[in-house]
Structures are given as C-alpha cells and as structure tokens.
Subunit: 207 residues, 2 copies
C-alpha cells in the first residue's frame, strides 16, 4: 500500500481529533494546506498555541478570558442585577445574540455524576460566593434575579433544579427560560413534550 509521508499521516490524525472532522475531511484539509495555503497552516498553528497558552477562565464567571476577570464581568454597561447561568461559553454567545444585557455565570458543563461531574466541577461554590457578594472585588451582592438558562436536556434540567436550591437560600428571584414552540415552528412537527410545555406555559393575551 501507499506510504504517505509520516508527518502527513500525523497531521491527518491530529485533524481527526477535532469534532466534526472525519478521516476524509482531515485528508482534504491537509492536502489543501500543503498544496495551497502553507501560510494559513502556519498561522493556524500559531493561533492554536497562542489561544491554548493564554486563554484561561474568568475568576468570577468562569467564562473564557485572557485576563483574571473578563471584560463582561468588569463592564459597567451591563445590568449586574441579572445573572444568567449557562452551561458553556457558546451559550454566552447565543444569549448575546438574543440581546441579553446582564451578567453571566458559566458552568462549563452540567451535573453528570456518572462522569464524575458534581457541584465542585461546575464551580457552584464560586456561584454561592458570587451570590453572597463575597467573591472579592465589586461582584455579586447586587444580584436580584438569577436566570437559569441551562440546556433543555435531562442533565440541563437537573442542573437547573440543583442550582435553584442554592439560589433559594438567598433572597434572590430565580427564573427559568421559557420552553415552547420555536418561532416559525409548525405545531405539526413539534414533539409532544415541547407542545405540552408550551401549553402549560400559555400566557394571557393583553390588548
């Protein structure tokens, strides 16, 4: 059989580790880079190293940050009476797109005892400290509403439920984002669980 240069095979294998990239795409990408975009490959290598070496977690909200406290936490243009709890940094991105203007707390996962992910791994002690306003600096204390925006999966729901228990100890309002029919969704194609949620969460129409 054909002997690929060993470093080419190594590159293909490294690319295969990326989510959503199979053997075929990895091959295509490698050949493309070698044939047409060696500069791109080098800048990607530099970008990867730079990012891995310099991006850590914000000490307050646990989101990705290059500084000890992230820009979002430091910003005084955000409503610090609102704290939105999400599972991962991508969700922060999604919430921003949706126009949310408060602060965040990023769990970096969800409760999953079988995988050894408990309250400690999700930084829930940090969250408690945040809410108590004792997490150092000018954080917390002022939080008046916690919005649970974990995913609508079994694990996400369990996590939301668990966090609810923590927040209830403080004098803070807790809300969960609404579940229902997505905009543009047709009833015919919505699963029955979602529909029953949408039904239970129906609201008065005010003129």
């Amino acid at each position: 059989m054909h002997a690929e240069p060993p470093r080419l095979s190594a590159l293909i294998q490294a690319l295969c580790r990326l989510p959503g990239i199979g053997k075929k795409s990895a091959q295509r990408i490698s050949y493309h880079l070698l044939q047409r975009d060696r500069d791109g490959a080098r800048s990607l290598a530099a970008g990867l190293t730079e990012a891995m070496d310099n991006i850590g977690s914000c000490q307050r909200c646990r989101n990705f940050s290059e500084t000890p406290i992230c820009d979002l936490c430091l910003s005084d243009k955000r409503d610090s009476s609102l704290l939105c709890i999400v599972e991962s940094p991508v969700d922060v991105f999604a919430m921003e797109e949706a126009g949310y203007k408060g602060k965040y707390f990023v769990l970096m996962g969800h409760l999953s005892p079988l995988d050894g992910i408990g309250p400690q791994e999700l930084g829930l002690d940090k969250l408690a400290a945040y809410l108590a306003g004792s997490s150092g600096a000018e954080a917390g204390g002022e939080v008046r509403e916690v919005i649970l925006a974990t995913n609508s999966t079994m694990e996400g729901e369990a996590t939301a439920h668990f966090i609810n228990g923590i927040v209830q100890r403080h004098d803070i309002r807790v809300t969960r984002i609404a579940h229902g029919v997505p905009l543009g969704g047709e009833l015919e194609y919505i699963d029955s669980n979602t529909l029953s949620h949408a039904l239970a969460g129906r609201r008065e129409i005010s003129e």
Copy 2:
C-alpha cells in the same frame, strides 16, 4: 455586543480558512479545544508546523515527500513501465486504493490559463525529462505506457489532451482511464454525457 477574548477570535478566523469549515464549525472546534482538548490543540499545532516545514515535493514525480525522491519513486516493487499522471496527491491515494501498482507523476493542478497555470506550473518539462529517461538517477526511459488519469472535468480533459501531445513524441503508448457508468450506478440517474461515453466505450463480452 459580546467581546470574545481576541486570541479566541483569531483562532476562529484561522480555522475558517480551512476548506469545508465555516464560522459555526470553527467556533465549535475552538470552544471544544479550549474546554476539553488543549493537548489535542497543541499536538495539532505541532503537527501543522512539522508538516509545513518538512514536506516538500518529490523531485521526480512531484508528489508530497519528506525526502528529495519519494518512497514510491524509489520502490523497486512498483512496475516502472507504467506511469500514471494524476492532478493531485489525493488522486495518488485514490489510485492506490484501486490497486494500481505502477509509478506516478503528479501535476499538482490542471491547465488553467486564466489562473496563470500553464505547462511550466504543472512541471511538464520535468515530465518530458522523466519520459526521456534523463531526469537523473535511474528514472524513466523504461516507461512503456502513460496512463492519463486527470479528472474528467473540462480542465482535466484539456490537460490530458495536452500531455498526450508531449508523450506522443516518444515511442510510448498513451491511454486514458475509462469513463462510463460507475459500479452500482443506475442508468436512470446517470447523466447523458456519461452514458454516451459508456456507450461509445462499450466492449465485446468474451465468454
């Protein structure tokens, strides 16, 4: 709007340059690497650099190689009376899968005058030298059949036609891989050009 850490944005942009990777996948990959596979990211960065710095072209067949002459060209287990001409290294891979056992010449592209790709860029002078057996070392000379396996596109056909002209100057047989109905293909779904090729290339069934 949300301020991503600048190095994260830079990484996402570098990933977007890869073929088949859009903004969304790039984001997903970056977050995945940061959150769960920093080692993978570092080994990918190393792999990229290693590959770009060490993989060049074989001086004889122009395929990717870490050595001046590639393993395939040096191998004495390959039939050196057969020379298969392909457009790119991926095609070498495909031919190997198909069980081809001869030697190769890789054009690294196809004739495309509008993009400034002429005979020179495809190394056709090298090919002529190869065929004349004068490309140094123990190459060529012994080639008795050139198989044109460029793609079955307009550019591929034009390239094949052009190379045919070069090979004809030597006393060497030139063949083109067959075009026709792919195995498992149903006539109903085959385009008419392919079908007319298949018809024109029909062969006697010998018992």
